[in-house]
Symmetry: C2
Subunit: 408 residues, 2 copies
Amino acid sequence: MATSGLEGLHLLTANTIEIHTDADLARKLESGRSLRVKLGIDPTASDIHLGFAVVLRKLREFQDQGHTAVLILGDFTAQVGDPSGRSATRPRLEPEAIEANAATYVEQIKQILTPERLEVRHNSEWLATMGIEDVLRLTARTTVARMLERNDFAQRYSTGSPISLMELLYPLLQGWDSVMVQADVELGGTDQLFNVLVGRQLQEQEGHEPQVVMTLPLLEGITGGDKMSKSLGNYVGITEAPPEMFGKIMRVPDDLMPQYFALTTGWPSDRVEHMIAELADGRLAPVVAKRLLARTLVDLYHGEGAGEGAEAEFDRVFKAHDAPSDVADIVIRRSDLEGGMARLLATAGLVPSNKEGRRMIEQGAVKIEGERVTDAEAAVDPTRIDGKVVQVGKRKFARLRTNERPGP
Amino acid sequence: MATSGLEGLHLLTANTIEIHTDADLARKLESGRSLRVKLGIDPTASDIHLGFAVVLRKLREFQDQGHTAVLILGDFTAQVGDPSGRSATRPRLEPEAIEANAATYVEQIKQILTPERLEVRHNSEWLATMGIEDVLRLTARTTVARMLERNDFAQRYSTGSPISLMELLYPLLQGWDSVMVQADVELGGTDQLFNVLVGRQLQEQEGHEPQVVMTLPLLEGITGGDKMSKSLGNYVGITEAPPEMFGKIMRVPDDLMPQYFALTTGWPSDRVEHMIAELADGRLAPVVAKRLLARTLVDLYHGEGAGEGAEAEFDRVFKAHDAPSDVADIVIRRSDLEGGMARLLATAGLVPSNKEGRRMIEQGAVKIEGERVTDAEAAVDPTRIDGKVVQVGKRKFARLRTNERPGP
């Protein structure tokens, strides 16, 4: 049974952008019945990424309060192609590719949704069997002007970019899903507002109680700016291996930390707010926050403790292969090479003294191109270091240059 | 077999507005094969009128040259509704009404087309069985901008008048008919140009040889201005009874005579041109031409000689019931009533003398409200004439008024 009354309202409305209408939502929650909460996803790609996980997590919150998640796999609509936010008609997907994607989606959503109050439907169930009469009846329900009001269509229309008639049918088809599953609430990213409102309209025209429309913010991709999307390559898939996931999060710009903490971690809002405040007043360095975020997300999708392992792996790999490319060059004299590695580090200013250099090497904290340096005293072969990146401890990097050109 | 070579080209292209393309038409005729000439008609009304007969007659000309008339009864598209030339979305017709109309259409076209090279098809045959996939495939073939280029849509869109999405599908559906019947040529009124071109486009996209598009002028309705149409009430149905048909033609404005002779009579063009020239230089009075036109059309649709009968009937009915409403009032004194009908006519100035009045009555040329007056001498009952129109001969009318109010 659903959490009675309005107790859950505060949690359910957190992090949302639009709710249409608040009154409808309050009334439906107050009824105490288990609501049917629809989320549609067209299996156009094989990975579910952190951006889509934002709405999946909201759906999970509804589940946790006793409501039913109705996940629509848009295997039919994926063939039509959602024009939302598109600047051009996109090629239609083949049914085989869609089916394969749908299967992996179902596997992946288990990481976020609980299977207890979950209903997974394919919209081909009711759309693929529609006859032309059904399609015409739907198309008679709306006008061209209404469709072209959409920002993306309006822009394409005014700039002469082609919009196929088929794209105009998309909102109606996915809206019909709401009628068929008798959705009480539909979730979507803000770019889905138009589509989700069509579902509400069609329900009203059918004489059903219209669904509450709830939109959530779009997570920016790991390079910032654009929303996270598979096609832009700026995404983190929720099934990506721990080191890849960790590494991708580490590339997220500092200023997106608050957004990522709020939308991806599933943390309660007071914890997120505390974190954001610490970041804002400098008590917390962005890089520290970012490592925490990365560990948190790896833990979330790969199990407690996976984050730390990923971090260690990341550090190893990162330091071996991903040394900053703008690291300072340090020119080493022949005489310094002869004094061995410890002395070389000291004269290069990477350690305060020969002794400290020896200590670091003994601890295994000195690496050249990711390979640990083991001998602190032996003379250094210039070919071994010229142009190479040396790393001392966790943070110091330098690219070594010798005046000596290696012999023939 | 079709008339070989290009012999028929001159006749077939007479009275056309657009041919797209002339070269295609010449090539197809030159091939010597029997062409499939499509004409689509949505059974949205029960009467075929003279306006639609214009294209039917052109189709007959193709038949006469050995080509096959493929008449598409748009029983399916009629349910969608052709938006051509419309300023608003029109209500959808019920299938029963459409079926009834289709049946009477088939009966009526026999008056113009020969049954020998005639193929009558219902487009529900291939449209009603379409699945959503087929519809989507069609809608992917064109763009919103392409559809809104249509004058009628563009105007409605710019003035904020609603266009349902369904209306956008209409041109594609009727265009698909051309693919299905493998039309070589399609005929239509000029208002059908856009639709007919869509058929050509779809054939090309299917890799078929595209149809020649041939448009014909729209006949103006009997009140002039608007094109003849059932919904405007300005039409002459080809099955209307002779007197109605005759009477309606007599109401056509004089300046439409050339248009009506050219488009409705089926006369050879030199005969039409001669007639138009005579009208232009005044050798022929418009009313005479109009009577000739009316007789000709009644003969055409009701058989040789029917025109003359209709004219006589028209004259009888017209003179009885259609007396000009602005006819002069003549006030009759009691003393004139007592002198009988002949004297009444003379004192009212409708005949030059009592004697002439008697002569006219004896000839049966005097009528009151269309009823022949037989007695010239008997005193006239004031209740029989008060407010009534008296007609003397063919052209004199007066409304009689008595000072005497009829007794209780």
